[in-house]
């Protein structure tokens, strides 16, 4: 497991920039991130503009653009700031989670749903951002975030070592199936206003079905 996990560190000080201005820039950054988190969570991805984020944060539109290249990048920072501590915790806990590989995956995803359901519109924004027309290279919408994939990979490798995951299966394909099942389960929020408990129940069954596919053949 990685030792360097934890909240996103502030950007390293730039050369030649006076410390006072550096800390002012960091303060702006934090205000923008907080304001953006609230707006994305209320109005969704398309419904939020950089202008509104600036107004809500009480900073000039220009100073948002000196810190972030795009709306997508702001959302990526919002998600990273939220998810880094979660993944750090999951990294610490996963080696101690017992049961079959399927059960360990169920526990891991249940933690995700419980966490995201509290700000579910923010997570929907995160998924929607993947299709943004103006997506900048700095943005990391859902699907391009390697962290979740790494946790699943480690869980499957442990399953191979313990004998309930086939050795001749392409792990990346199983990872992609699980990640897309996870993301698509959130559509239930859009269509049925399903809560965390409901999504966890659906995901548990989907994991069981995928687990049938990676179980060793008898």
């Amino acid at each position: 497991m990685k030792a360097d996990v934890g909240p996103t560190p502030p950007p390293s000080p730039e050369k030649g920039v006076p410390p006072a201005r550096q800390s002012q820039k960091e303060a702006t950054r934090q205000r923008v991130i907080t304001a953006a988190r609230e707006l994305f969570d209320t109005h969704g991805y398309e419904g939020t503009t950089i202008r509104e984020i600036a107004r809500h944060a009480g900073v000039a539109v220009g100073s948002v653009f000196t810190t972030f290249a795009s709306k997508g990048e702001i959302l990526s920072e919002v998600m990273a700031a939220r998810l880094d501590p979660l993944y750090a915790e999951i990294d610490r806990v996963m080696p101690h989670v017992r049961g079959s590989t399927a059960d360990r995956l169920r526990t891991m995803f249940a933690v995700h749903f419980e966490f995201e359901a509290r700000h579910v519109r923010l997570f929907l924004s995160h998924i929607a951002a993947a299709y943004d027309w103006t997506l900048a290279p700095g943005a990391r919408p859902y699907g391009r975030n390697q962290r979740l994939q790494q946790i699943i990979r480690e869980t499957l490798l442990r399953g191979q070592a313990e004998g309930d995951v086939r050795h001749d299966i392409d792990l990346q394909e199983v990872i992609d199936l699980l990640c897309s099942a996870y993301a698509w389960t959130y559509r239930l929020v859009i269509t049925n206003d399903t809560d965390a408990k409901g999504m966890i129940a659906v995901m548990d069954r989907q994991i069981g079905l995928i687990a049938d596919g990676f179980a060793p053949r008898d």
Binding site: Y131, G143, I169, L209
Partner: protein, 222 residues
């Protein structure tokens, strides 16, 4: 409708739209032509600029008419987008159904259905991208996802599995509903690879085949 203002923007082809009411069929024909022109322009702009990026004003000017003329035919932008989606999905359902019938077995049938979709959208990936963007929106999503045609497409996956159970190819406890929903989600989840990473149809086919095998494995064991 302000006739004077409309005349200024109207293209020569659709002048008949303003002809006196005693030629109802020609008038209806012209109205239909106007609709088609708006739809074609909208399709192009949604593909180029995304759903949010394309405005009714831009669509009207691309179609060579006033925004009023657009609103005379469509209630709003979402109505226009929905109409385009309905047309496309209807055509896609026909080719998916035909694909399912050509399948040698359940796995092959599903794979052909996936490929019918990827082939259909190969030339309109940017429109698919706009549709995905709308589908994840809490406001626009429910309408798009709830389109009767979308539900028919999902049912096609369910029917394919149910037929395989009837034929004895899959076990009675195949959890047809959950499994077909997952297959449909998986079909959709491969679109980003095509849209953003330029995957070829061959690459999509290889990936889909593996995914279908994994998702069917439990139902075969019986």
């Amino acid at each position: 409708m302000n006739n004077k203002r409309r005349m200024k923007h109207i293209s020569p082809n659709s002048v008949a739209a303003d002809a006196p009411a005693r030629a109802p069929t020609r008038r209806a024909l012209a109205k239909q032509q106007t609709r088609l022109k708006v739809l074609a322009a909208a399709r192009r702009l949604f593909s180029e600029q995304g759903y949010e990026g394309a405005t009714i004003r831009d669509i009207a000017s691309a179609a060579g008419m006033s925004t009023g003329a657009v609103f005379a035919n469509f209630t709003d932008k979402s109505d226009l987008f929905r109409e385009i989606m309905v047309d496309d999905i209807e055509a896609l359902i026909a080719s998916m159904r035909e694909a399912a019938e050509r399948g040698r077995n359940v796995e092959d049938g599903l794979l052909k259905m996936f490929m019918a979709g990827y082939t259909f959208y190969k030339t309109r990936l940017q429109l698919a991208r706009a549709a995905f963007s709308v589908s994840w929106d809490k406001d626009g999503g429910p309408t798009l996802r709830g389109l009767p045609n979308n539900l028919i497409m999902q049912d096609l996956f369910t029917e394919t599995l149910a037929n395989a159970v009837t034929r004895g190819e899959l076990s009675q406890e195949a959890e047809v509903k959950l499994r077909s929903q997952m297959l449909f989600d998986t079909y959709l989840s491969n679109f980003p690879q095509a849209i953003f990473e330029g995957w070829s149809l061959d690459a999509l086919q290889a990936r889909s085949r593996d995914q279908i095998r994994i998702l069917l494995a439990g139902a075969r064991r019986g």
